[in-house]
Subunit: 236 residues, 2 copies
DNA sequence: TCCAATGAACTTGCATACTAGTAAACAAGT
DNA sequence: ACTTGTTTACTAGTATGCAAGTTCATTGGA
């Protein structure tokens, strides 16, 4: 079975960059499922490169908790660890609730246009059934808000911990009514930010980022095989 | 000149583990200064191993922002980027202010003994002029507080961003009166936590974690060569 | 004296060969 | 049938060699 169905490297950049992104996406979207074996040689052969760059990518993914490397045994896609998911949510909520607060205190006229653009992009993506596009516009909006708070670099840190959350998100293949509810949350956040109401913005962001809990509730039952660790962990 | 003055690998574990810790410590403590060149071959030869494991360690340190790898040119110790330092402080303050809040709400009887132990360990280390021991006990106390909040894993994330802060801390070689002030801050935090006063605990923690700003003030002037980036960045 | 060309000595990126360890299939004995 | 020992085929860890690019000192000419 092909690990990388039809991945073609452009080879303008170093190998690792693209391979990292490609593998990461396949793990997050569930194309590579928890428990699946994935060997350095296999991937190297499929790409027509040597083990060395593949190996380095594996290491990075293992550091992020997406791969599990067992020496002399093999490398496997990590199970989704509930503890790690809850911790990731905690970190994201803590950081973004503070940054959105700052964003709402610093908001200016031109921010309004940009933020509203994100909302229209998102509704349009939903209308067209373009899930990938929606996720991208979603991330872009969060990125912009963090930038407004003057902390653009923090998004890359959140990106790191968010991996665990995204695995859950993709596993759930959000249905239509869910997306509508997310849009409502987005609108509430943006409205509060543009109104300069820090308290309301923080509250709206918290509700938004905590909605992943409901997704977990539904999933941890049905997709039990992909999860690891006890349920009922630290919940606020 | 020796990069690794007298580092002896135990070779019970994989090479990388120890080498990573050894290099990281030398960068943080300033034994390896910003701008210093450090090549894969040189380190490999000094350790009597091949380039491959050294290379992987370099990659991880580069991901953390401690090394700068320029292809076909060389690898260098990163300058201390003020922007990264302030961002790290922001992340740490945001996370630990929330966790110490939770810790103070969950505190129990046996926590009191442990926390007081940390304080005595610290005062003893200061009395003996044992700086390394003080830093260790300092970190241990923060670790314990985060554990009290039920989020032990978050410490490793903070550990990651803390690297930038530690570089500043070690560069300043805190003088005696500074250490006394830190101890006062520690005592204030612990007292608030044990009293179950979340607001006071959070405030004390914020003051404590913001004290690095004064250190930066003093240093960015005198040690200008080690720093990169404009002063007067986002400050609360 | 100045400047440009050149080449030696570096560097990291990548490829490949070898080592050593695990696991599972299999064979032989009970 | 079951256990035990052995073989075989895999894995990642490590070593090493080559390729490609940068830096810098040296050299030759004006």
């Amino acid at each position: 079975m092909n690990i990388l169905a039809g991945v073609q490297l452009a080879r303008n950049e170093p190998i690792g960059r693209e391979l990292y992104a490609a593998l990461r996406e396949r793990i997050l979207t569930g194309a590579l499922k928890p428990g699946d074996a994935i060997s350095e040689i296999q991937v190297a052969d499929e790409l027509g490169v040597s083990r060395t760059p593949v190996r380095e990518v594996f290491r990075r993914l293992a550091d992020e908790g997406l791969l599990r490397i067992l020496p002399q045994v093999g490398t496997f896609i990590s199970p989704i660890q509930l503890r790690a998911v809850y911790d990731s949510q905690f970190v994201r909520e803590t950081l973004e609730c503070r940054t959105v607060r700052i964003a709402s205190e610093r908001q200016t006229r031109q921010d309004a246009d940009r933020l509203e653009d994100f909302l229209t992009l998102q509704t349009r993506a939903i209308r067209d059934g373009n899930l990938a596009g929606f996720f991208r516009a979603d991330d872009d909006m969060h990125t912009y808000l963090i930038g407004m708070a003057g902390r653009p670099a923090i998004w890359s840190l959140i990106q790191g911990v968010k991996a665990q959350l995204d695995r859950v998100r993709f596993l759930s293949l959000e249905s239509g009514e869910w997306l509508d509810r997310i849009m409502e949350q987005h609108r509430a956040i943006i409205a509060a930010v543009l109104a300069g109401d820090a308290d309301k913005a923080e509250a709206a962001m918290r509700i938004h980022l905590q909605s992943v809990f409901q997704t977990i509730e539904r999933l941890a039952e049905t997709q039990k095989a992909f999860f690891e660790g006890e349920r009922d962990l630290v919940r606020p």
